[in-house]
Amino acid sequence: MVLQANNINKHFRKPVDFHVLKDINLSINNGEFVSIMGKSGCGKSTLLYILSTMDTDYEGELMIQGEKISGRTRDELSYIRNKHIGFVFQFHYLLSEFTVLENVMLPAKKLGEKSLKEIEADAMEKLRILDIESIAHNKASRISGGQKQRVAIARALINNPAIIMGDEPTGNLDSHNAQNVFSIFKKLSVEQGLSLLIVTHDLDFAKKTDRIIEMLDGRIIS
């Protein structure tokens, strides 16, 4: 079990009290490729950010790799995100002043478990897996949208996380690139046994995943 959530409840307190997540229970197994679907405002992104440890304002219990995460300090959570969780967002969020390679290396440098040489070799390896090693030394601001998203995936992979989380990673891409990103995820799931949790609007995308979690008005309905 990579990730487990027990009885997660969340309220938005401003401008009025709003019960956005109601008694969420879910678990994700090792190597599982799971998508979360639902209409806008159903709370799926909110749930993702709680599961990602970035949002700490909730009630309930969150376990990552069997360890209880709820109630940890912010610094500990930063470390957990750094080591165990990889992120891919709808927008690519690369540091535009840095090269592609530097962007990919950054989380590993922060983790500081390997030497600079090893990190660079790892980063090149990830870029090779994603087939973008040729642009390794380009500025992050000088590459196309599809490429940026692949760089973001490489960056998410650099610390060999337990789980990759994505908030509409294909939402901003044309169908060709979206298909591309999906195949990459699928490949990672099958070949490397990586767990993935992807929030998406795209039914075609969701259908091809191992399991679909459907949400409505703050509850999981299937």
């Binding site: 950010y49 610094d75 750094n82 969020y93 002043e97 922060k110 983790l111």
Partner: protein, 419 residues
Amino acid sequence: MNSALLLGIAKKHLMTKVKQTLIAALGVTFGIGSYITLVSFMTGLNEMLDNLILNQTPHIHIYNEIEPSKKQPIASYSDFEAALNVVHSVKPKFSQTKIHNALPLLEKLNEDKRVRGALPQLNTQLFYISGPIELSGNLKGIDIMNEVSLFNFGDYIIGGSAKDLENNSSGIFLGSGVAEKMSLKIGDRVQVSTVKGGIFPLKVVGIYQSGVADLDDIQSYANITTVQRILGVPNNYITDINVKLHNIEEAPGMAKSVASQNKLKAVDIATANAQFETGTAIRNLITYAVSVTLLIVAGFGIYNILNMLIYEKMNDIAILKATGFSGKDVQFIFLSQAMIIGIAGGLLGLLIGFLLSTIIDGIPFETDALPTITTYPVHFDIWYYIIGFSFALVSTFFAGYLPSLKARKIDPVEIIRGQ
């Protein structure tokens, strides 16, 4: 490893915003540079003004004051011990103006370890005579060579030299005002007469100018033996002793003990010149007020630029936090940017301050009051540079602290979802 990584990110941010970084750093440079210049120039002026008076002022001035007896004779009469005695029109006690036992006292003072030197003076009133005109004035008998070494007497000689006076037993240094009034120049003869009568011809060997016009209009100097000869007194006749100490702080205490031990009046420099301390303190206050204002303005510049930078880098901050950088790491990045700006701007400011001070130090400045000064006075002190640099660090730290704290608190979820 971690801080090197964070510094690397900070550096990258600054490098891509060279113009803004430069402007922020120049703000600090301007503040520090003007602080250094101002404080060096101001203290230079202060020192000059203080020296004008203080250099020639002894740390302790010992003399015999004419005053009424503190204990009137009736107090010694036992019959009236229990009575209330009122004495009307008390007169000063008759005593000599010379210091009793002056030579042994001088010797004792000169042996004291705290004393740099104690010099005898003989002060007398006289008239400068030019035909029918009699100008009243003061003549001081001094030990000229020691006055030069202890009280910078040489700085105030505008014609002739100290040696000329030492070698001439009937020489006189006229005050510049006196010399002008009587149209006397070096080599001329002047006749002086003492209060008790008797006319003595003296040779003008030098002109003296203190810069204080009232003084220069009456004061002249001669060798102490010359004055003793004019007055017809023996060589132990000394009216004043001027003491210079190694440590000026010891003056008040020592003055007190000298006064009580020898039944003399002893005035220390702090009491005599309290107003100079006040003037110096106020001028320093103004200097620092202006400098701090400049630095605060520079601080706001840094604050503004960092704030803007943080708004621009919102996404970067969010992604850094999402990928495992803690709030502290992000704060470190922005705070170190402020400090880099502060250090670079500060160092440049020190350099600019030094250059400006050096330039000012070379500008000609001539004034009658200060015969030895030819350029604007500037005081160079390593401490100003240390203080200035610390100032730069502290102000940029505070200017960077608030924006960096904001960056630390940014919630990545809000930024990422806000898109």
